[in-house]
Amino acid sequence: MDILQILSNTAAQILSPTTIGFVLAAIGLAVHFGFTGLLNMGVAGFMAVGAYGFAISILTFGLPWWVAAFIGILAAVVFALILGIPTLRLRGDYLAVVTIAAAEVVRLLFLTTAFRPVTGSADGLSGFHTDFRASNPLPQFSGNVGFGPWSYSRDQWWVIIVGVILVVIVLLFVWALMRSPWGRVIKGIREDEDAVRALGKNVFSFKMQALVVGGVIIALGGIVTAMGTNVNPNVYVTSQTFYIWTALLLGGAATIFGPVLGAVLFWVVRALLSNLLPALVNIGALPFLSGEQSQMLVFVLIGLALMLLVIFRPQGILGNRKELTFVK
């Protein structure tokens, strides 16, 4: 068992485009759930809409990458409006079921063979990175540069830089938003919708705005993930939504840095376990498991972590118990 290799793999996960995409998605979900109290169970749908909007704009319409990213964002806005209009007047769990259903509809539409020329069906889309990579301002170098486990190629560094800048901008934006009057109304809606309505605020409109803002941030997560890897419908499954929820609740739903911490921790722990458990099986420390089963054990543990978090520490690592008590 090569402990160093396992730790290195785990550390490398921190800066991968998948983790950065997860961080952004968790921040968007924090806007939805943590601050507004919206039970969005369609996170994967928002990510898929962003990622496919980005990839299809480049592949089918030949647009430059930054226009494509803008179209991905626009697609998320439209998706949020479609979801919000029928459900935001209803009780929270309706929104949960409708968003999860809508995310599944989105995935099935990208998966069906009927639109294969545009969506690539089950194979997904690839080969749309040329324009994005060409805009890389970094000096030319070959091979991997960096230190220790964080050694990446020039293309990878470019994705990481764009992703991290986006995360910082989004964090500042959400921080400013949540201490603004708008943010106070949003948090008021989470605590007691009727009280906010009694103060003369249009709750429906505020919820819709929050759904759009959070949805755009989640879609940015999808776009950053797409910049680093291919787009595949099998990524945007319901489980993906649940993992992002786990990450958010781990860090603290109603906090600014909670989603960042939660998403990074989620991936670090997941990478550690999926490297460590098979290694333990190999040296015979887990005699009752096969290598394949130990990978499933990772997901069992993630589910268990989600249950225990919600039961015993619903405010997460950074949260304040008074701030979020799962109202409703």
């Binding site: 029928p86 259903a101 599944e104 509809v105 539409l109 649940f242 993630i302 268990l304 249950m307």
Partner: protein
């Protein structure tokens, strides 16, 4: 007692209208339900006895072809290749005529002794039309399209991509050749839809009951469905006992599973006073845990219960029905009717409806709410387990995520019918089942669930409380 069910008291202020539901009205409903001896059983209205007539053999048509490497007898020097493999139940079919039309003109091929064929074509990045001549197939079999959407499944359009190679698979099975009339297809779909809907009803009634009595939107309900199928597999294949012994044991095991979930998890959490949203997320975590534990036991593949590809009975036209279909529908109907009588007539059934209506009031009238909730979990487990066994025959096959794949349809059915109402779940399930099956006449098979989910979203626009639901639940 009252405090432990505090969370069940829904906020009665309806959004927009600030309407307050008068307590008296709710109380009246509870008392009325307690005194009610009316006998309407919606299930009886569905005279399925007369409708139990037909189903398509095509459903069980086998995936009989696999992609094959190009055989050695390629016709000429053209660089790119369209090839395939024609098999029935794994046995190669030789001498089947295939024509390929496209750039380079019409070319023909015949399958060899291994059932393989191949045509060399001059261009890639081009479209070709591949036709299998059905008159060269043995008597009684045909190229089938289990979606029913394709009028001529023996004609396929393929695209030779940059790779320059494509394999074309035809689905060969016992089925009528592509002359099936639209009416026959429609009848097939409707009967399939009823079968699917009844199976869904078994699963969704339990979910709706649990929601009605405890307020939990139980995402782990899908795993209770899978559990039933897995138990049937354990007792019918692993042990192996006869299937008619295994299924009742599987249902009993599912009931025990439902009881254990309540006693081991949900009751302590209710005592702890967790909110509804927290309970929902706990159920999501539980669903992940159970799903991957199932996968640890049976792996990622599909296993079959005995008799899952049975003889089919020909009825009229191309409409066929298998013994399993008939047994499945009959079982569903009998169980649903028995359940309806139980819910309507028995003391505990009435108590269940009372708790579902207003838990605090039911507790105040002397109903042991904890006991009712426990029984609801047992019943929900048993119904979901039976639904899982039938789903394993309908798909067909047992897979670790088979329950999850219909979880959203179950939710759609429950919301369509009205959250928390048992009969609503039945009506919703039949609608969803029919919608899924009949819509595949027009839309691609891999999009058939989409129709049901879109309808779910649309119905929330116009009648958010569902078909049989009550207004006060939605605020």
């Amino acid at each position: 007692m009252l405090t432990s069910y505090r969370y069940r008291t829904f906020r009665s202020t309806a959004i927009g209208s600030a309407k307050v539901i008068p307590r008296k009205q709710t109380a009246g409903t509870v008392l009325r339900m307690l005194n009610q001896h009316s006998t309407p059983v919606p299930a009886r209205r569905r005279r399925l006895g007369t409708a139990l007539i037909a189903i398509a053999g095509v459903l069980f048509a086998l995936w009989a072809t696999i992609s094959a490497p190009p055989p050695a007898h390629a016709a000429d020097g053209d660089p790119y290749r369209v090839s395939g493999n024609v098999q029935l139940d794994g046995a190669p079919l030789p001498g089947i005529a295939i024509t390929v039309d496209g750039p380079g003109g019409v070319q023909s091929a015949e399958t060899d002794a291994d059932g393989k064929w191949s045509v060399a074509v001059p261009e890639r990045n081009a479209d070709y039309v591949v036709t299998l001549d059905e008159s060269t197939l043995p008597e009684g079999i045909a190229v089938v399209d289990d979606t029913g959407a394709d009028e001529t499944p023996n004609v396929r359009e393929v695209h030779v991509g940059p790779g320059g190679r494509v394999s074309v698979n035809f689905f060969i099975g016992a089925g009528e050749r592509h002359t099936t009339s639209f009416f026959d297809q429609l009848v097939e779909r409707i009967i399939n839809g009823l079968n699917f809907g009844l199976m869904l009803a078994l699963a969704s009634i339990g979910l709706s009951l649990v929601y009605g009595t405890t307020g939990i939107s139980n995402f782990a309900h899908a795993e209770m469905v899978t559990f039933g199928a897995l138990m049937a597999y354990l007792f019918a294949v692993v042990i192996p006992w006869p299937i008619w012994v295994a299924i009742p044991i599987a249902v009993a095991a599912s009931a025990v599973f439902g009881y254990l979930l309540d006693a081991g998890l949900w009751r302590p959490l209710r005592r702890k006073g967790l909110g509804l949203v927290q309970l929902m997320i706990v159920s999501i975590g539980l669903s992940l845990v159970l799903r991957y534990i199932f996968q640890m036991f049976i792996g990622g593949g599909t296993v079959q219960l005995p008799g899952s590809v049975p003889e089919s009975l020909e009825l009229f036209g191309s409409v066929r029905l298998t013994i399993v279909d008939i047994a499945s529908m009959a079982t569903s109907i009998v169980v649903i009717v028995a359940f309806a009588i139980w819910l309507q007539r028995s003391r505990i059934g009435k108590a269940t409806r009372a708790v579902s209506d207003n838990a605090s009031l039911a507790a105040a009238s002397g109903i042991d709410v904890d006991r009712v909730v426990r029984i609801v979990w047992i019943v929900a487990g048993a119904l979901a387990g039976l639904g899982g066994v039938l789903w394993a025959y309908f798909r067909p096959g047992i897979k670790w995520d088979m329950g999850t794949s219909i979880l959203l349809l179950i939710f759609a059915a429950v919301i369509l019918g009205g959250l928390g109402t048992a009969y609503g779940a039945l009506v919703g399930s039949l609608i969803v089942g029919l919608l899924v099956e009949v819509s595949s006449l027009w839309i691609p098979a891999d999009l058939k669930y989409v129709a049901a989910l879109v309808i779910l979203i649309l119905i929330l626009l116009f009648r958010p409380q569902g078909i049989l639901g009550r207004r006060e639940r939605i605020g």
